[in-house]
């Protein structure tokens, strides 16, 4: 019974505690489903409640939960990689670099600046920039589907921007992983170069050899395929971590490498597993937050949410404009992108060991709570928001005028 050994102490009590927590999460997930929003904010609140200083502190071995949480991150990134085909990535890279760069400038820089203004060290500020930068592709894709916007003209622009952001993560994560572990500047620079070279190499290999890998896995039964994909993800993730590229990126690349029917099957098989482990990850993240840090985090989080919410409006506008989308559609594109979620938490979790890591954790949790709830709402009511009047007459499609939808 190695599991029980890992849990340590009284296994019966641990099972009861984990069982109760899982049931609470189940209720929260249902509630979120009813409200039509993502469950991530609820998981974060639940984590706060059971954490130290919360209303019902748990005394489960942190080692056990942290391992499941780490696996949750890997599976989140794996399923993200499984979302896209190699062709979609190439196409996204071709047309999306300019809006992608603007997106980074309009969202990463305010986060970075806020971190520096708060007097944090540079590494933590860079992490906060990342927290603000990456939209939650899970939430955004779900919002677009739920609001029946998949047919809309601005939608490909939004989805392409998500592809670019996710690819940018592939470069950003190893860089910050190196920053977090790095000692002096020269050392960090070397680590970053190695990390980026490794990512470029593996990405190339994944795109080129993915078809062959998928062909090898294709005849496997569901059970064998699940185990193979899970094993491959942990293996590549672990090796990536060994060379300081960040395990999450290894998992992302495994997802990218799988293609064709295997991609769809693996996605369907891993999804329930991901939901389970990812819930643990969100729970564990806020489990570690000291509730006393929260009040101080709320004001900067709200300010950041407003600034970077506007930042996403800029991104959405820039991405949708080349497709000939009118002002109304550009606003819809921007509001759809406001929600931050899983990746902001993944990035913030990297900073757990840094000097201002605790404050970053509290700020990121508050920020994700705000944007993950406000983003989908803004997207829903985007058609009723007033348009800036001076922009309306510039395009022929705006003949409808503000307020008519």
């Amino acid at each position: 019974m190695t599991l029980v050994a890992a849990v340590g102490g009284d296994a019966a009590l641990v099972f009861v505690e984990i069982g109760v927590v899982a049931l609470v999460l189940a209720v929260l997930a249902r509630l979120a489903g009813h409200l039509g929003i993502t469950a991530i904010p609820f998981y974060l609140l639940a984590g706060l409640a059971v954490g130290e200083g919360g209303i019902a502190p748990l005394d489960v071995s942190a080692e056990f939960i942290s391992l499941t949480a780490e696996i949750g991150v890997l599976l989140l990134l794996l399923t993200l990689g499984l979302e896209y085909t190699a062709d979609e990535l190439r196409q996204g890279l071709r047309g999306g670099l300019a809006p992608g760069a603007l997106d980074a400038a309009a969202n990463f820089i305010p986060g970075l600046a806020a971190g520096l203004l708060l007097g944090w060290d540079t590494t933590t500020a860079v992490l906060l920039g990342g927290v603000c930068w990456i939209s939650s592709s899970g939430v955004v894709a779900k919002v677009l589907a739920d609001l029946d916007r998949l047919g809309n003209r601005e939608t490909p622009a939004v989805l392409n921007l998500l592809v670019i952001e996710d690819l940018a993560m592939a470069a950003y994560l190893p860089v910050v992983a190196a920053l977090v572990t790095g000692r002096d500047l020269a050392d960090t620079a070397v680590t970053v170069c190695i990390a980026l070279a490794a990512v470029a190499l593996v990405l190339n290999v994944a795109l080129r050899w993915g078809v062959r890998l998928s062909a090898v896995l294709a005849p496997a039964s569901d059970e064998a395929l699940l185990l193979a994909v899970f094993g491959l993800t942990l293996l590549v993730g672990g090796l990536a971590e060994k060379v300081q590229v960040s395990a999450a990126i290894g998992a992302f690349l495994v997802g990218l490498a799988l293609s064709g029917p295997v991609q769809a099957r693996a996605g369907a098989l891993v999804e329930p597993l991901r939901d389970l482990f990812a819930a643990t990850f969100f729970l564990f993240f806020s489990f570690q937050i000291d509730p006393r840090d929260l009040p101080g985090a709320i004001v900067p989080a709200a300010a950041l949410a407003v600034v970077t919410g506007a930042g996403k409006l800029v991104s959405g506008r820039a991405a949708a404009r080349p497709l000939g989308v009118g002002p109304r559609g550009r606003l819809r594109a921007g509001t759809a992108l406001i929600a931050r979620g899983e990746f902001s938490i993944v990035i913030a979790a990297l900073g757990a060991g840094t000097e201002n890591g605790d404050e970053l954790g509290a700020l990121a949790a508050a920020y994700v709570l705000l944007t993950a709830v406000a983003g989908p709402l803004a997207a829903k009511y985007a058609d009723r928001l007033p348009l800036p009047a001076r922009r309306a007459p510039t395009t022929p499609t705006s003949s409808v005028g503000p307020g008519v939808s």
């Binding site: 029946d148 809309n152 490909p156 392409n160 998500l162 559609g329 499609t397 008519v404």
Partner: protein, 159 residues
Amino acid sequence: MPEVTEIRLPGVGVRHEYATSDGERVGVVSHRSGRREIVVYDRDDPDTCRFILHLSPEDTRTLAELLGAPHLSEALTSVQRIEGLAIDWITLPEGSPFVGSTIGEGRFRTQTGASIVAVIRRDTPLLSPGPEHRFQAGDVSVAVGTPEGLAQLRQLLSG
């Protein structure tokens, strides 16, 4: 046929769009999961849809049948790529000698080498009919074989 534009939706699937002869813009969103959505764009604001129909894979087949494109053809196009193999749709006329007899009794494969892979009766396809399938006038037999074999089969069935 009007020009159909294809737009990729990364992570979701693909969307095809075209304008009808009335000038309506119509799109079909094909999800990777097999779900489909039919959308009709707003004439005033072409960025939004004013009508959306959600279809499960089964609904899609039904609708395709109703619109007059037997979904069967999709599966059969792959067969058509095989060298020397042909497909034919043969309607059984009122006066055919095989009205009322079964596929087995006709001994079609023995005589012509062609196989009847489906029978479409009043727009409902019956896939892989057994030798016990009894023909009615108006049944459309979908047969696969060599072009010569299919010509012979057509002659037999038409009487």
